[in-house]
Symmetry: none
Subunit: 207 residues, 4 copies
DNA sequence: AATGAATGAGTTTTCATTCAT
DNA sequence: GATGAATGAAAACTCATTCAT
């Protein structure tokens, strides 16, 4: 007979995660303390432990979160578009992102996820699972483009891996340099490079 | 024991740094303790502090180190080569790297450098300075290729930025996935993609 | 346990300070460790840090404490008395103090305050401020005595300085020798000497 | 068959002590490190341990030192003087001392001796022994004055104790406040007060 | 004798987690 | 359910002392 509804609890959990993300983005996972998160959430330390078992759990949940929402949104924007435009939409979704301190902070946390993954099997499982979905997304777009006859005979999986490598590389850089115009140029150049590379004949006709 | 040569001290410092790099690679900068480093170095904690003022200093020295050596080596290998081959040499230098645990560990530390940089001005200065040299290296190669008439009319600086973004993205991935064959494929694809993109007319004639 | 009253917290703080004073008295500020204080307080080290930011802060608070209480008490005892009796009251307040180990310990800490003050500007400010109040106290008594026509034409400020110098000298000695009868004799002699010196004509008529 | 003469060793010991005194004066016994002393002495840490068994020993030797010299000097200056002038000579010896940083530093160390004495029986023995000689010095002067008929019927021992209490109180204060003119005034007032108190009839006729 | 690198016990301080209220 | 005081295991760093050279 819980005193509060599940919805309330879910909302609280999401609340805490949001504040935790801000803290981790600002100070890093190790450096941000539960006190920081409690303070920012306007809750007590004890309350937080009522929703999450440990700091590590908050971290894991954060890694899992966000993906669904993002995919839902993209699926919507992609509806009915040819492969080239889907890829463009994806790229411009990132390219047009304003480098607010929240977003850059979240980017830093994302980078930390990768590092942290390398050293912890549990975290790695989650992270790789998440990553798989992103790779599959672009892989499917590329396959679709090939079927449409617009993309050449490339290895879709490898191209997707390389695409996300470049994307993470851009995020990594911007995480430190924090320069909007550099960020946009990098994505513009990446867009052109990838579309040209994927194009049938490699001549960028698809552009 | 005292009144040891400068060479001895230099060797010790390098020794400690090597062991520290291994510890940081394994556990991460924050998680690795001075005790870990001391244990692995076979020295006492106090001895470590005789060579480095703080854990942070070891970190900074580690960031600075390696770069010179790498540049010297590349300069040697580059001697007399046309731009395209210089770029290929650089890419293959990475591509042919065997993913030993030491190397992957070092890669993880390199990734941490970026993250850490984002939150610490001192570290950032060193990191950005170091990064500048890498960007300049590829930028010069691209300019050279343009002068040779092999590369098209691209923005050398931006292409260099993008190149290193992709490189760091590959490292980031491999840091977690640790799969040799994926690593090689990513570099092979990157090589082709960049050379094609840089080529005059973008048709990859330079390949 | 949480959501305790402010009074509870104040009491805890005072508790810790009391135990800290005992530890400092016994071993000295530098030698007494937080562990000592925690052990004696029956609390954990962490709990101590919940009330004080650092050992230094405990020290400063200890320096500030006690003064108010003492002044309130004296003001009470002084009410309505002529200057000579005020001075006598003050002197006898000290003279009749039993040399318990706590009191002697506190005296030792007081002496350490002086030494420590000499080498630390922050501590010095607090210590000099505190000292000022004591000097003003006796200075006022002397001025009052002069107005009453009982004390001669002495420099009140200087006499007050000298009085407290002698007092501290007595404490310093007793801190080591810890002999009750010597302590009392020193104060008796000091009483006579000062009253005689202050007396109009210097003939001790005021006695 | 020592390779160096005893005189050389003695000189070295004195040298080290001199520098140690400066270090202790500046930073305090606990805070000053052997490295500080070694640096200031221009010797190695190891060499210092060839002359002193421990930091504590240096401290003890320092406590013992200086006294002889001082007594020899005073005995010289006292030769043939009546008691009143001996006392005056003693007081003015202090009063005319310029407050150089070395002298103030030495004063601080002297204060530390007292504090330290309170907590260590070995140190206490040395300190009390040293103190005894100072008390005896003034006690004898007072007795002499009584025999000369210039001083009244006071308890010589107690007056001597009180005299040194006041002296130490003045040093304690100056150790922190470090104000030459205050120092001199305190001694001038002390001189007048003590001579008046000691004078036959207490009327300061001896002045 | 002198040197100064090495040792390691000891110190302050932090912080994830627990749990009495 | 919420609170935040309490815990205590680390962790970074210091420094008197030793001892190989």
């Amino acid at each position: 007979m819980p005193k509060v509804s599940d919805a309330y609890k879910e909302k609280k959990r999401a609340d805490i995660l949001r504040h935790a993300l801000a803290c981790f983005g600002e100070k890093g996972f190790q450096t941000a303390t539960i006190d920081d998160i409690a303070l920012r959430s306007g809750m007590s330390k004890g309350a937080i432990y009522g929703y999450f078992e440990s700091k590590e759990e908050m971290y894991i949940r954060l890694m899992e979160s966000g993906t669904e929402e993002m995919f839902r949104m993209l699926r919507n924007d992609f509806a009915g578009l040819p492969a080239v435009d889907k890829l463009r939409t994806l790229i411009r979704h990132y390219r047009n992102q304003e480098l607010t301190s929240e977003w850059v902070g979240a980017g830093r946390v994302h980078m930390e996820f990768w590092i942290h993954s390398a050293r912890n099997e549990d975290v790695k499982r989650v992270m790789v699972g998440r990553y798989e979905r992103f790779v599959a997304l672009v892989e499917e777009i590329v396959e679709e483009g090939k079927r449409e006859g617009v993309f050449g005979d490339v290895n879709a999986r490898e191209m997707s891996d390389l695409f996300w490598a470049a994307a993470d590389g851009i995020f990594l850089r911007i995480t430190v340099l924090d320069r909007q115009e550099l960020y946009e140029k990098l994505w513009d150049d990446a867009e052109e490079m990838f579309l040209r590379t994927l194009s049938r004949n490699g001549d960028g006709a698809a552009l």
